[in-house]
């Protein structure tokens, strides 16, 4: 009898041992700690909390806790929905009320979609040892080429027009990835520098396109014409829910990237070049070819993020439409451990935070920037797992993970 309890205890401690070493726990704790710190931040930036503190310590802490709690409740209802409202809507049977009640959840998925494409783009580059900072620019170019295919190509059935417009978006992004890839392969120019420069070129190029060749002549401000009905990514519900099939395309791409990276010889070569280019050369892999192809594919995925936005959400291209999806993608790809499944999960987290942040601002007046700080704190903790391990007294990871080793060729 005693022996079994002993065994049980042992197996439990073995489980804890394994679990506390795993990176997954670190990620969960980093998110948890980030939320905790975010709450503190909200409390210390709220005037009522100070007023309450002047009354007494306890009412001060009470107010601080209430403020943080209300903020997160607003974040939750803004990103997932208000459970009470949903219950009432279903009880009333009013279709529009139901759609309004469940809209926050689907809107979060809409926000997550470009993140999935962008995150996959960064992750694929990372696996090949390439730091693609140019996702934002590739999104802009992909949006421009995608929207052009959407409004300028006439007379196609939906079944052809949509894939064609997505393909145009992918090709635009691919071109924007190809140039830094080629420069790296042929001259050794570091992709971090070249992709940043390509971003600036992309932003200004799209500005110019919107003002001149692609401008809708009937508008005063720089905007493209609306895309044709046949190019619109179908929505699954009526207004106000904007949820469209782009989300499923993104998930499908994640599956495709997973198979590519881990099941094909090409992915094997790509990961080899990413983890140890010397060994890859020794093994007969053509590094230049692999590098260029990896940048092209990374760019194509980013381009699809842009096309997805114009074909599924905005239906036209406006200036400054992306608002940082590309840069957030770098962070969330790291958060997802550059694994396609991880990218989907972290994209959902970012999508829900981004969507919830807006209603947080409306409901309790907490600035939207708090969410940015929240994201930053979570990421800092993940980037520096030692902090989390120290705070929660976790064991050291058994072996260093060589997740991403960035390298430059000449030096």
């Amino acid at each position: 009898m005693e022996n079994t309890t002993e065994n049980k205890k042992k197996s439990l401690s073995v489980f804890w041992d394994e679990f506390s070493r795993s990176n997954f726990l670190v990620i969960l704790l980093a998110i948890f700690t980030g939320i905790l710190l975010g709450g503190v931040l909200v409390a210390i930036t709220t005037n009522e909390v100070y007023a309450a503190f002047r009354e007494s310590i306890w009412s001060g802490f009470g107010a601080a806790f209430r403020t943080a709690w209300n903020t997160y409740v607003a974040l939750f209802t803004g990103s997932v929905g208000n459970p009470e409202k949903i219950r009432l809507a279903f009880a009333s049977g009013d279709q529009l009320a139901i759609r309004r009640a469940i809209n926050p959840f689907f809107e979060s998925l809409v926000q997550s979609t470009p993140y999935i494409f962008g995150g996959l783009a960064v992750a694929l580059g990372f696996r090949a040892g390439l730091f693609n900072i140019g996702v934002e620019g590739q999104i802009f170019i992909g949006a421009a080429t995608g929207v052009w295919a959407g409004y300028a190509i006439n007379g196609l059935p939906t079944i052809i027009h949509i894939p064609l417009a997505m393909l145009f978006g992918a090709l635009g992004g691919a071109l924007w990835g190809f140039i830094p890839g080629l420069l790296k392969a042929k001259t050794g120019a570091h992709e971090v520098i070249t992709t940043i420069m390509m971003n600036y070129i992309a932003f200004r190029l799209v500005d110019w396109l919107l003002k001149f060749p692609m401008k809708d002549p009937n508008e005063f401000t720089p905007k493209t014409p609306w895309i044709l009905e046949t190019a619109k990514l179908p929505r699954l519900f009526d207004t106000p829910i904007r949820f469209h099939i782009g989300f499923f395309i993104a998930v499908l791409m994640a599956v495709a990237v997973y198979y590519l990276l881990f099941k094909t010889t090409w992915g094997f070569e790509l990961r080899m070049v990413g983890s140890n280019p010397n060994a890859a050369r020794y093994a007969g892999v053509k590094i230049t070819k692999t590098t260029i192809l990896a940048m092209v594919l990374s760019g194509a995925l980013a381009g699809m993020a842009g096309a997805n936005e114009v074909l599924g959400v905005n239906y036209r291209l406006l200036p400054a439409f992306s608002s940082g999806y590309g840069f957030d993608s770098i962070a969330l790809a790291l958060l997802g451990k550059t694994h396609p499944l991880g990218v989907i999960l972290s994209s959902l987290l970012f999508g829900f935070l981004r969507n919830g942040a807006r209603s947080m601002q409306l409901a309790v007046g907490v600035p939207i920037d708090i969410v940015s700080i929240l994201q930053a704190v979570i990421l800092a903790f993940i980037a520096a797992p030692a902090i989390i391990r120290t705070i929660y007294r976790l064991r050291e990871s058994k072996h260093e993970e060589d997740l991403v080793s960035l390298r430059s060729w000449k030096g």
């Binding site: 041992d17 099941k263 094909t264 010889t265 090409w266 094997f268 990961r271 080899m272 983890s275 140890n276 010397n278 060994a279 890859a280 050369r281 020794y282 093994a283 007969g284 892999v285 053509k286 072996h399 260093e400 993970e401 060589d402």
Partner: protein, 521 residues
């Protein structure tokens, strides 16, 4: 008088491993005490405990009869224990003086560093111990052997009396090793004590006063060079009888498989590293390339495996001119390569062993069909090779990083030998490995030779060249000075050539006669 250092019953457990099991060790004043053991025997753990990096679970440390409680390297240094690490801890852009002062700075009034005073003290130490160090030189400008002396000065500067040297010869050329040994002798004459950690038997016999052998975390014996010989030490270390001599029959050379003609290769800074080399390797023979590190061997190997473009000359393999072919094409013709830096070129450390075992055959059937990898077949192949090449690992799916150096090398050998090859380039195949692994790899190389494979062995270990080669080519400053038949070569003749001296026919005969005489007596 109490011994300088005494360790009693030191025990250290790591999860799942007993790294040190009640180890006793006594070091007397003025002796070189060798700590001998294979990789993973627990030598480094023990020294890290003494140096305060780990805390022992049980046991006590006494210095000069005083019980000592070390919690950090600072405590260790205070009690006179210092350590020269295998990987140096120096700041390359600092001068020798600045590096030595780091952590114990001499300061003038106003908080200004007193470099002159420190430099003078370094000069003084350098003179006493004949270290020949210039305090004003930058670390990045001085050779590895010199950098090691800076590490030693750092300890003497802090008045260490017990110096732990962790595999100090691993990074040195044979000449530098000799100089290091002289310095070690001077140090013990001055009353210092040295703990010399190594797994190289020859060095132990040369320099140690006493030897303690560790195996599996336990002390298995204590002896002196006078009381034992190489074979005794090797079997103590490995725990079974070891054959240091490589058993091999006379080679039966076949037709020429591999040929280099007037090859010229540049190094990374554009200097001529391989200068007009020509040689042939026949099927069923081992051609050894002897030479001190850095005489063009690296560039030669990289050029003939397609990793570096030759500027002139021809390389032929099985009738194909491979001078300008890609590494993959050369591999496909039937060439195998054991690279000199296994971690840099030979393995992807983050990949599992199974993937590393197909690193250059992943695209061929049965490992893949068209673009799809066949993971099942790759795993089967991995399990099979892990068993047949005795790769010690908990599972074939752990990352190659987790393996010891010897087992990493076995992964490379297993991979290269598991496909049909006609020619093998083995560059430093046993560098840094323990006796057991060296024995294993040597045996496999000779087996491969007897199968009719042509083998080009590049090694800076003269013993290895002498043991394995059927013919010996000696390189010096990128030139091939001579190719000797193994029967007509002695260590002395090859040694002279390695130093760039071409012995006359007369001298050769004299040296050879000496060897024969020794053999007869």
């Amino acid at each position: 008088m109490a011994p300088v250092l005494e360790l009693r019953g030191i025990t250290k457990r790591f999860p799942g491993v007993l790294a040190n099991d009640h180890i006793d060790l006594t070091v007397e004043k003025g002796e070189i005490h060798a700590l001998l053991g294979e990789n993973g025997a627990g030598k480094t753990t023990l020294m890290n405990i003494l140096y305060g990096l780990y805390h022992p679970d049980e046991g006590e440390i006494f210095v000069n009869g005083q019980k000592l409680d070390v919690h950090s390297p600072i405590d260790a240094i205070k009690s006179g224990v210092g350590m020269v690490h295998q990987h140096f801890m120096l700041v390359p852009v600092f001068t020798v003086t600045e590096n030595v002062m780091l952590g114990e700075e001499y300061v003038k009034a106003g908080g200004v560093l007193d470099r002159t005073k420190a430099a003078n003290k370094i000069r003084e130490i350098s003179n006493i111990y004949k270290l020949d160090i210039n305090p004003d030189a930058y670390i990045s400008d001085i050779p590895v052997g010199m950098q090691q002396r800076v590490e030693i000065i750092k300890l003497l500067f802090r008045e260490a009396n017990i110096l732990i040297m962790d595999e100090p010869t691993a990074v040195l050329t044979p000449q530098e090793v000799e100089e290091l040994f002289k310095i070690m002798h001077t140090m013990i004459e001055q009353g210092k004590s040295i703990i010399f950690i190594t797994h190289k038997l020859g060095e132990v016999m040369d320099i140690a006063d006493r030897i303690t052998v560790i195996r599996g975390g336990k002390v298995v014996g204590s002896t002196t060079p006078a009381e034992s010989d190489l074979n005794d030490l090797a079997s103590m270390m490995v725990g079974r009888d070891v054959n240091l001599e490589v058993e091999k029959s006379e080679s039966v050379p076949g037709e020429v498989v591999f040929e280099v003609e007037n090859l010229k290769v540049l190094d990374s800074v554009g200097a001529l590293a391989v200068n007009d080399m020509s040689f042939k390797v026949h099927a069923g023979e081992v051609l050894g390339i002897a030479g001190v590190q850095g005489n063009g061997q690296t560039e030669l190997v990289r050029a003939i495996t397609g990793l570096l473009q030759a500027v002139d000359g021809d390389v032929r393999l099985c009738g194909h001119n491979i001078t300008h072919l890609s590494p993959r094409k050369i591999t496909e013709i039937g060439s195998a390569h054991i690279p000199e830096d296994r971690q840099k070129d030979g393995l992807v450390l983050g990949f599992p062993i199974t993937d590393n075992l197909v690193l250059n055959t992943y695209y061929l059937e049965p490992n893949s069909k068209s673009i799809w990898m066949d993971q099942k077949s790759i795993n089967e192949n991995g399990k099979k090779l892990v068993e047949s090449f005795d790769i010690r690992t908990p599972s074939p799916f752990v990352p190659a990083r987790n393996l010891s150096g010897g087992n990493q090398q076995k992964v490379i050998v297993a991979r290269e030998f598991s496909r049909p090859i006609k020619f093998l380039v083995a560059s430093q195949p046993t560098r840094g490995l323990d006796v057991g692994s060296i024995e294993f790899i040597h045996k496999r190389l000779i087996e491969k030779r007897d199968d009719g494979c042509a083998i080009l062995l590049v090694s800076t270990e003269l013993d290895e060249i002498m043991q394995l080669s059927d013919r010996i080519a000696v390189v010096y400053r990128g030139k091939l000075l001579d190719i000797l038949d193994a029967k007509n070569a002695t260590k002395e003749i090859v040694g002279l050539l390695m130093a760039g001296i071409i012995p006359s026919e007369e001298e050769k005969q004299k040296l050879l006669a000496k060897k024969k005489q020794i053999l007869i007596t």
